[in-house]
Structures are given as structure tokens and as C-alpha cells.
């Protein structure tokens, strides 16, 4: 037993040094003050947290949560059928199917965002084709608006929804469905009463991953949204760079972290709850 713990030492040391210590520094900085040049001085204050409560910043939080919610909703809407389809494929095609979902990740995300710009911009692929075939007379403005941000977000995060749902569906006992049909359930009813509840854990897991990733996102709004919207991620980035306000940036990061923790907590509650529910049923 003792020897076993010793084996943990490198991992623990690593985590303590590279995760916990920086984290504590961020916490400390969030309560510190700054000089006009952005130097952090350790005169303790709650000012950064008070500033968070101003309507301006609360609204950015609300807007970020809304965008994240919408992203999550759309990824479920698109990810679920995709995962379902992959599970239905013959065994030998499932792994290639999953790999196809993940292929885009082999390329840096920033580059993929710019690739979207090339596809969507006024001289881009879509506009050129539509112009050529005479469907439109002038290029449409497909980029630099909220819809483009949403396209980018959903694109970036879709795999995080597909994979956990796939895992949940893969473990599903399909005989239950056969039983349901035998008992006269319509396909829709069988889906609603059996498939959906039993894959809920996958949806919950995907939701957590997509939601948490999207509340911290700042590249998509900058590259595809034309930097016209401010999400929390952009706000934090600004505080560390142009505004030179590290305490405020740290306080924002802490709140973002706490938000994520709450979501993970809710997720575990939901998972345990749904398992209980399935057993009762």
C-alpha cells in the first residue's frame, strides 16, 4: 500500500507544481491591485469581484451563457443522429466513422477557423459558386455575424457531443428495443422510452464538454465574428493584454472556473439521477 502511494508521487508532484500552484497564483492575483502599468501589487482588495457585478459585465456573462447554451443545443441536435448512425454501421465501419469525426482535429484549430473564412467570405467558395450559377447577383455576407460565430462554435465542438453519445449508444442493449416492438411500441415511442433515456448519460457528458469548452471560447468570435462580440473569453484576453488589468482578468477566470465546476457537479448529479431512474423503470 505504502509503495503504491510512492508511485503516485511524480504525478502528484507534477499536478501540484504545474496545476495547483499556478491556480493559487491566479486566485491571489484576483484579490490583488494593479499599478497603471499593469504591475500586480499585493494590496488585497475585492474591487475586481465588485466590478464583475456591473451590468456591463453581467450582460457579457449572460450573453456567453446564451451562446454556449445554443451551441450545446445545436450540437445535440446534430450530434445525436450522427452518433446513432455510426452505431448502426457494421462493426468494421464504426471505427473509421469515428476517426472521420475526429480528423479535423489533426489540424490546428486556428487554421481551421481561417479555412472557414476562406469558404464563407465574399470571394469565397460558397459565394463564388452561387454567383457563377446565377443564384445570387451580389455576394452574400456570410461572415462576421452571430450566425457565423454559431457555425464556427458548432463545428469546433460537435465531436465532443458525438463521441460520448456514441459510447452510450454502443453499450445499449438492443434487445430492449426488440422487446418494445414486440409489445407494440411505435418506433418513436420505443426511442423515447428506451433509447433516449439509456443514452442520456452520453448526452449529459457531451453537454458538459461542449458547454464548458464554449464558455471559454475566444478564437471563433474573433476570427469568424469579426471581433464584434465580446464573450467572457475575449474579455479575459483583453484584460491580460491591452487593458493590462491582471487582477480583473484573474477574477473573471476564477468565476469562469467556478461556473464550470458547478456544471460538472450538476452533471454528476444528473448522471446518478438518471441511473437511478433507469433502475426504477
Amino acid at each position: 500500500m505504502k509503495d503504491g502511494r510512492l508511485l503516485l508521487a511524480p504525478a502528484m508532484g507534477w499536478l501540484a507544481f504545474f496545476f495547483i500552484v499556478p491556480m493559487l497564483i491566479v486566485v491571489a492575483v484576483s484579490f490583488a491591485s494593479r499599478t497603471p502599468y499593469g504591475q500586480v501589487i499585493f494590496e488585497w482588495t475585492l474591487e475586481s469581484y465588485q466590478r464583475l457585478l456591473e451590468p456591463l459585465y453581467l450582460r457579457i456573462f449572460a450573453n456567453t451563457l446564451w451562446v454556449s447554451f445554443l451551441t450545446t443545443f445545436l450540437t445535440i441536435l446534430m450530434g445525436y443522429p450522427l452518433a446513432y448512425y455510426i452505431v448502426q454501421l457494421p462493426k468494421k465501419w464504426q471505427q473509421p466513422g469515428l476517426i472521420l469525426v475526429m480528423v479535423p482535429f489533426w489540424i490546428n484549430f486556428l487554421i481551421r477557423s481561417y479555412a472557414w473564412v476562406i469558404v464563407l467570405r465574399s470571394q469565397g467558395l460558397i459565394n463564388s459558386l452561387l454567383l457563377k450559377f446565377g443564384f445570387i447577383e451580389r455576394p452574400m455576407q456570410l461572415l462576421y455575424n452571430d450566425a457565423a460565430v454559431m457555425v464556427g462554435m458548432v463545428y469546433a465542438l460537435l465531436p465532443f457531443m458525438v463521441l460520448p453519445i456514441y459510447v452510450a449508444l454502443e453499450g445499449l442493449d438492443w434487445r430492449l428495443l426488440e422487446a418494445a416492438y414486440d409489445l407494440g411500441a411505435s418506433p418513436f415511442k420505443a426511442f423515447r422510452k428506451i433509447t433516449l433515456p439509456l443514452s442520456m448519460s452520453g448526452i449529459a457528458e457531451g453537454t458538459i464538454m461542449v458547454f464548458i469548452s464554449s464558455i471559454g471560447m475566444f478564437i471563433v468570435p474573433d476570427v469568424m465574428g469579426g471581433a464584434k462580440t465580446v464573450l467572457i473569453g475575449n474579455l479575459i484576453q483583453n484584460q491580460f493584454l491591452s487593458a493590462r488589468d491582471w487582477p480583473f482578468g484573474s477574477a473573471l477566470s476564477i468565476v469562469l472556473g467556478i461556473l464550470s465546476l458547478i456544471l460538472i457537479f450538476l452533471y454528476y448529479r444528473a448522471i446518478n439521477g438518471s441511473k437511478g431512474g433507469a433502475q426504477n423503470a
Binding site: P36, Y37, G38, Q39, P55, L56, Y57, R59, I60, N63, L98, M102, F105, W106, N108, F109, L110, I111, R112, Y114, V117, R121, S122, Q123, Q141, L143, Y144, A156, P159, F160, L163, P164, Y166, V167, E170, G171, M209, S213, G216, M217, F218, I219, D222, V223, G226, A227, K228, T229, V230, N234, L235, N238, Q239, F240, L241, S242, A243, R244, D245
Partner: protein
């Protein structure tokens, strides 16, 4: 099942790495120096020195140059303040030079040890941010003016107010920089772009909110592509970028508006922590050797600060209409100065503007 989770974790890590994609690579400064050669650690903007010149310098001085790419002043400042990064020479813009002098992060440069930095463009000899010209060697300079595409903008713009023309709905491009954009609106209203007067800033923000329906995007890093590809028709742009854009797309024009605007300069500086200031001085002087300087600025496309290099430039560079427009109107420029605490007010106003409140 385990496999899938492993795959997911891999993907997640990759995504996180992707999010940090805009970061520069780790400084190579800490690499052990195995060759016994002298090492010069520098931090400069991307694409701001012709790589051939760097190689030539390495050969001539039998040294190695570690070029750490940094894309904004605040990042340089943060690295210097953190104290870990030991650069021998860095680059920073005007207002940041002022801050670094105040914070004692940079040393005076003994210009008597240099041969080629003495025939500067006159207004850069004792610039406002370094009034005695002791700490900085201005390297490149420019003017933030109006860029426009003659295909879509039929009347040559003369004033910043022209950006507000309703014909340019969704076609105006602005720099993604609070001081530049708010400063532009301040100039339009006839104020200083260094004002700390709240009423003037509030006014500027109110005007900018009115400009938002015209604004296609805020962009600094890829603004050139947006103008070349004719996504944006009109907007604000640094003269160096505008010159590049005009070479790619002949329909592009550039003017300095009658109200004036931001004049700026990037400078070579020597940090107080420099371990090899001698070699840094040699490097700066090497870059300013007239022939080298001409070659260098033909490559980067920004305007030269060294008048001695002008005769070695091509006719094209000397008469580049964009660079010429900036040179002829340099007296209309106002340097952005460090504004101390007021930066918080600017940032707030900026956030307000972008979040539509």
C-alpha cells in the same frame, strides 16, 4: 470504451492546444549553447526583419540569433515584467517605450558606438516618447490612415467621417485596438487621441456605436487579407500594411484624412537585463547599414527611418504612393501616449462598444 475515452482526451488536449494556437513558440533562449558561439536573444514582431539579413549577421559575427516572435507590446511588457525572459534586444512601439523607460526596463543606448543610426527621418530624432532619443532606435514608422477600394468607393475620402457613409454598410474595417479606434473617433471630433476627458471619450463611443452598422469586422492581424479580397471597402489601416495591400490589389488607395491620425514607430531597445548589449548594438547597427537597411525594408514593406538608405532603394519604394502620402502628412500625426489610469476607462468604453451596451 476505454479506447474511446482515451481518444476523447486526446482530442480535448488537441483542441486546447489549438486554442493557444496564436501563441508564439517557446523561447529558445534556454537551450544550452553547445556550439560555443555567442548568442543574441531578440524579441521582435513577426516578419519585421528579412531572414537573409539575420543569417548574414550570424555569419559575419559568428553568432547565433534566437528570434522570438511576439505579436504585441503588452505581451513583451508582461514577459519583461515577469523577469524570466532574458532578451538582449527587443522591439516595442512608441507608447510602450515610454512605459518601459518609466519602469526602468530598458537601458540607454550608446549611439556613439553605432555608425549608421545618425541620419534619421527628422521627426524621429527626438520623438515625444523618448525626448532625448537616448533609449530607442526608431526602426520603422507609419501612419494610421484611410484605406479604400476605388471600385466601391467612388469619392476619394478626405475625413474620418467618411467611414460613417451609409453606403458602406457592413463594409468598413477597423483595427482591433481600443486606442486606435477610439482615438480615430476622437480625431474625427477634433480632439486629441490621448485625451483623458470622460465627456470626449463618451462622445467618441456614442459616435462609434453609430458606426457599428457599417463595421464589418475589427481586425489587426489579418486585416490585409480582408482588404485585398475586397471584403472590406474602406477602413483604417497602417500605412505599411496599406502599401502591401496596394501592391496586391491595384484598386486600393490610401489617404491621410484632414483631421490627422495616429503616427507610430517601432523601436529597437536594449533591456536592462541584456546579457550581450554589445552584440545587440552591433546587430542594430548592422540592420541600419544603408545597403542592408534598403534590402530589409524592400522585404518588409514598411517605411524606412534611415535617410542614408533611401538612395539604395528602388524607385518603386521611394515613390510608393502610400508611403509617400504618410511621409508628406507626418506632421498631421499625433503619437499615442501612455495614459496611465485612463486605460481602464478606454477598455471599459471598448467593451461597451463591442458588447452593444
Amino acid at each position: 470504451m476505454k479506447k474511446i475515452i482515451f481518444l476523447m482526451l486526446t482530442v480535448f488536449t488537441l483542441l486546447l492546444m489549438g486554442c493557444g494556437g496564436s501563441k508564439e513558440e517557446k523561447p529558445q533562449a534556454e537551450e544550452p549553447n553547445t556550439s560555443g558561439k555567442q548568442v543574441l536573444n531578440i524579441a521582435c514582431w513577426p516578419d519585421i526583419i528579412d531572414p537573409e539579413l539575420v543569417s548574414a549577421f550570424e555569419k559575419k559575427y559568428n553568432c547565433r540569433v534566437n528570434y522570438d516572435v511576439i505579436s504585441n507590446n503588452e505581451e513583451t511588457l508582461a514577459k519583461m515584467q515577469a523577469g524570466g525572459a532574458q532578451y538582449d534586444m527587443i522591439q516595442a512601439s512608441d507608447y510602450m517605450v515610454e512605459i518601459m523607460i518609466k519602469l526602468k526596463l530598458i537601458d540607454k543606448i550608446d549611439k556613439s558606438k553605432m555608425k549608421h543610426v545618425h541620419n534619421m527621418v527628422p521627426f524621429l530624432r527626438k520623438p515625444a516618447y523618448d525626448p532625448n532619443g537616448e533609449y530607442s532606435v526608431p526602426y520603422d514608422w507609419g501612419f494610421t490612415g484611410i484605406v479604400y477600394n476605388k471600385k466601391y468607393v467612388k469619392k476619394v475620402p478626405t475625413s474620418w467621417a467618411d467611414l460613417w457613409d451609409p453606403d458602406y454598410r457592413n463594409r468598413v474595417i477597423l483595427l482591433n485596438d481600443s486606442r486606435e479606434v477610439i482615438g480615430m473617433a476622437l480625431k474625427k471630433n477634433g480632439h486629441s487621441n490621448n485625451t483623458t476627458n470622460k465627456a470626449e471619450i463618451d462622445n467618441a463611443i456614442a459616435d462609434l456605436k453609430g458606426l457599428m452598422p457599417n463595421v464589418m469586422a475589427f481586425d489587426t492581424d489579418t486585416i490585409k487579407q480582408k482588404v485585398i479580397a475586397e471584403e472590406a471597402w474602406i477602413g483604417m489601416m497602417w500605412s505599411g500594411d496599406a502599401s502591401f495591400v496596394r501592391n496586391e490589389n491595384p484598386d486600393i488607395g490610401y489617404v491621410v484624412p484632414k483631421e490627422g491620425g495616429v503616427i507610430w514607430a517601432d523601436n529597437m531597445l536594449i533591456p536592462t537585463t541584456s546579457r550581450n548589449p554589445k552584440l545587440a548594438i552591433a546587430f542594430i547597427d548592422f540592420l541600419f547599414e544603408p545597403k542592408n537597411a534598403a534590402k530589409n525594408f524592400e522585404y518588409i514593406g514598411y517605411d524606412q527611418t534611415n535617410l542614408d538608405a533611401m538612395p539604395f532603394h528602388t524607385e518603386e519604394f521611394r515613390n510608393d504612393p502610400v508611403l509617400k502620402e504618410a511621409r508628406d502628412n507626418a506632421n498631421k500625426g499625433e503619437w499615442l501616449k501612455d495614459i496611465d489610469e485612463a486605460i481602464v476607462m478606454y477598455d471599459r468604453a471598448w467593451t461597451e462598444l463591442k458588447s452593444g451596451m
